[in-house]
């Protein structure tokens, strides 16, 4: 219903006892007076986890559940076992991020990024602006040339694979490793898949840097994403400073919101 009314919705926010919110171009609108019931949250989580919330605990600890390409962030009370977070209960809100396969104003950047001399590409933006959508489109374009693209889909968000079939089209030449940490996935892909390109979403921890080094050391092109507004912003953070110092990436693409659209900027590194 919400998507019929707001087809360009980027997120749906459901908070118990409050009206649903819809995020469009980074701004939240409230959809009517009717408030969200706790039962609605439980129903959505039941559907998203296949009535197996217990099996989704590791994903929940990571911040969200992936379901058919949707990213569902969950708020509630922590369940602790000693000092370890083992789950959440008494759910109070959900943030459902809706993926868009169409890139708003991104067709031109795709043409330039898939030129053979483009090399390894790092895509950066703040959360929710479109890194994953651009990476997905980039993979699809490259894998349709065709080049062999190994996708390290640690959280099953890039492909949203269900029973071995990707929900999102990632092109004919793509192979997807789901749920494998990037550092291990990189080795598996390099040894077993003979890729031209390896793609990974969200470099967030030091272990991911070793995956980047392994891939670059084998002469394979890398497509990756990171959180950051621009190059300066990224250089302020130790992890990304180290990432950039590896000299692996030839191009940095930053994305920012403008009105209801996106601005894609490309810079050589």
């Amino acid at each position: 219903m919400i998507l019929n009314r707001w087809p360009r919705a980027e997120e749906i926010r459901l908070r118990v006892g409050r009206p649903p919110g819809v995020v469009i171009a980074g701004r939240e609108l409230f959809a009517g007076e009717e408030t969200v019931a706790r039962e609605t949250l439980l129903h959505i989580l039941e559907r998203a986890t296949g009535a197996s919330l217990h099996a989704s605990a590791p994903a929940l600890r990571g911040g969200y559940i992936s379901y058919q390409g949707l990213r569902i962030g969950v708020c509630g009370e922590a369940v602790m076992t000693g000092d370890t977070l083992t789950g959440l209960r008494a759910f109070s809100s959900l943030s459902i991020r809706i993926p868009h396969t169409e890139l708003t104003g991104g067709a031109r950047i795709l043409d330039t990024l898939t030129e053979p001399e483009a090399g390894s590409i790092l895509i950066a933006s703040p959360p929710g602006v479109g890194k994953t959508s651009l990476l997905r489109a980039l993979i699809r374009r490259a894998a349709s040339v065709p080049q062999r693209v190994a996708v390290l889909d640690e959280r099953n968000e890039l492909s949203a694979t269900i029973s071995g079939r990707p929900f999102f089209d990632l092109g004919q030449g793509s192979d997807v490793l789901i749920g494998v940490p990037k550092s291990q996935g990189a080795m598996m892909a390099l040894r077993g898949l003979n890729p031209d390109i390896i793609a990974m979403d969200e470099i967030t921890k030091p272990a991911d840097l070793s995956a980047v080094e392994e891939i670059a050391g084998c002469g394979v092109t890398l497509f990756a994403t990171a959180h950051g507004r621009n190059l300066e912003d990224m250089r302020k953070r130790p992890l990304y400073r180290e990432l950039l110092s590896l000299g692996v990436f030839g191009q940095l693409v930053t994305i920012r919101l403008r009105g209801e659209g996106r601005v894609y900027e490309r810079a050589a590194l």
Binding site: S52, A57, T86
Partner: protein, 170 residues
């Protein structure tokens, strides 16, 4: 001679009726026992493997027996409808077809479990399974005691009733 035959037939039919009632109670107890076994296995599988519900039900269908296996198989077969219907509705439908549901207390305990299973974090689910298991064991103990006493009573009453009827009629 005919009177004796008629008398014997009356006693036989009363004994058969009583035996059927006793067997029915025993089958009901057996169904409850199988559900106790299923819940014990479910607790272990949830605690150690934490596998998703379709895998859990598949394993339970292979490992459980009797009425509990039929329940696990029916619920597992209905899972493709998840989304159109809630897990609780599918669970209740599978339970309603099962002989264990003829025991109202057992049914109530199992329905309460269906409202929690798969919906909440692990500890809440484990607590619900162990609570349901305890309720079913209590019910089974009660029924087994009743079955022994009620079996003798049913047989005695039905035979003496048949004998009395025979004396009056014949």
């Amino acid at each position: 001679m005919r009177r004796a035959l008629g008398f014997a037939l009356l006693l036989l039919s009363a004994a058969l009726w009583a035996s059927e009632r006793i067997q029915d109670r025993a089958a009901q107890n057996e169904a409850l026992r199988s559900f106790c076994g299923l819940l014990g296995q479910l607790y272990g599988l949830l605690e150690t493997e934490g596998a998703p519900m379709p895998e859990l039900l598949q394993t339970l269908t292979e490992r459980a027996d009797g009425a509990a296996r039929d329940f696990a198989a029916a619920l597992s077969a209905s899972l493709p409808a998840l989304g159109e219907q809630s897990f609780e509705a599918l669970y209740r439908a599978a339970l309603a077809q099962n002989p264990v549901a003829r025991d109202k207390d057992a049914r109530r305990a199992l329905e309460a479990l269906g409202a929690v299973l798969g919906r909440y974090e692990l500890k809440t689910q484990l607590d619900a399974v162990s609570g349901c298991l305890a309720a079913l064991r209590r019910e089974l103990d009660k029924r087994e005691g009743e079955t022994r006493d009620a079996g003798r009573l049913t047989l005695g009453l039905s035979l003496s009733g048949a004998a009395l009827l025979g004396i009056i009629l014949l």
